[in-house]
Symmetry: C2
Subunit: 315 residues, 2 copies
Amino acid sequence: MVGNFGIDIGGTTVKIGYFVNDTLVDKFSIPTNRENNGSNIIKDIADTIKLYLCQNNIDVEQITGYGIGVPGTIVNNVATLSGNLGWVDYNVKDEFRKYINSNNIVIANDANAAAAGEYWALRNDVKNLVMITFGTGIGCGVIINGKVVEGVSGSAGELGHVPVVLENGEQCGCGNTGCLETVASAAGIVNEAKKALSNETRESVLRSISNLSAKEVFDAARDGDKLANELVEQLGKYVGVVFTIVAATVDPNVFIVGGGVSAAGDIFVNIIEKYYKRYALKSLKNVKFRIAKLGNDAGIYGAAYLVKNASNIQS
Amino acid sequence: MVGNFGIDIGGTTVKIGYFVNDTLVDKFSIPTNRENNGSNIIKDIADTIKLYLCQNNIDVEQITGYGIGVPGTIVNNVATLSGNLGWVDYNVKDEFRKYINSNNIVIANDANAAAAGEYWALRNDVKNLVMITFGTGIGCGVIINGKVVEGVSGSAGELGHVPVVLENGEQCGCGNTGCLETVASAAGIVNEAKKALSNETRESVLRSISNLSAKEVFDAARDGDKLANELVEQLGKYVGVVFTIVAATVDPNVFIVGGGVSAAGDIFVNIIEKYYKRYALKSLKNVKFRIAKLGNDAGIYGAAYLVKNASNIQS
């Protein structure tokens, strides 16, 4: 029995998956301890894994590697910045090796790891894949020729922070205004809806909802609410146009759409695809659009996939 | 003496470079014979090379490879479409091998080959590079980790055909409207200027020029003409925004700007960089902007570079 671990560090929870022959055989999670600039997170993970191995009579020598997805910019296994965890220029690989000595430890951005997971799920069918998750924020991973593109500053796939509202856009957490995240993250969709409701007097079922969510905007659009429909069309246009430029850059087989917002289902993906097809170059119109398959497990699958061959990450 | 050939097929001229140890030792060109769907082009090239080798007493066995840049979409050495040459699903590699039997023949899109040439010129300093040429059309090549990205349909880097004018844009040769090429190619810049001149009554030195060129728009802006300045600002905004999305996708070290329009010099690159910096994510603001170094020879340098290692092309 030879296995490896795929680990996905989130802002509140660390997910750990134990894989044997590409099969997820066990999955558990621990809280993310963000105290003291997250200095205990890696030790907590290592302790949990060591205990798991001991309790299951698995020799640590039988573990071929450890892949770790981190919410932040990663360059060569170093977290140059993870605002979420409190890490700055933090050598995650070296830190992990203090507790578990392995020659095969791979650190990746969490969105890149998720993209690698979805790539793994489709690996016989695709070479180039772009995955975008729409949730609290927007994450994206780009895979070319089966390899994650990390980027020279660890910022490949930062599509949440591309400009879509060029004048008078909303303030974004990144410091800029009008980023895709300000209109297409869960909060961005709600914010756009609230702005539309206060800027005009038209009737809309959205007016009667006190704690508006992105899902309710999609539901209202599906039920024929005109204002909600216009909001969804505008959202699709913002995202679809960005996707055409991404496709004209790396020409993928498929866009994978994931995250909480994509739980709205077909309506969200369909509206993106509609505007993508409207604006994309003919030879790029055949790119497929797919809802993510692995859900919240994409990160651990991808981390496990990446550690099987560290050369699956390229700058 | 061991050499290789870098070949750049253009719509009117084929450039052929003979390289020994990465040095261009000879360069010549022949007309591109587009008759009969370009069926003689490859034979013409092979004949020219064979004659050159004979006249210079070079044994064909000493030639390590032949790289060929083609204006069209290329997938695995096949020109799936070159409207310019009349090729459809044309196996350029097999065709060339009919005349010169070599195990090392590499076919690449011409813009990708040019990008590879500029990468070669900077190869010790960069890993990821995006080159865009603004001329009659707009061409682009994307290099990640030293490898040209071809794309699954041969369309990686087709940035001339991304949408920048989303409503009521000008008709583009690709069939869509409002593509970057309609506002930022040499003809696009002139067209935007003419539209502005006819849409308003302001004075401008551009009104006195009968055969307006892109260069004259830049010159007028440099001389303080207000209307020309606004045109250049709008152009910079269109291109700069596209560049931020390209950068957020692949996170390059450098953007290389080439082509006839870039002969306008600093003003063109500076205006692109201004808007790029305004909209780019903080971690991506340090991308360098450079004017292409190799001019019209980029294609032959790049073709020669790519043939030295065919693995320098990835899907």
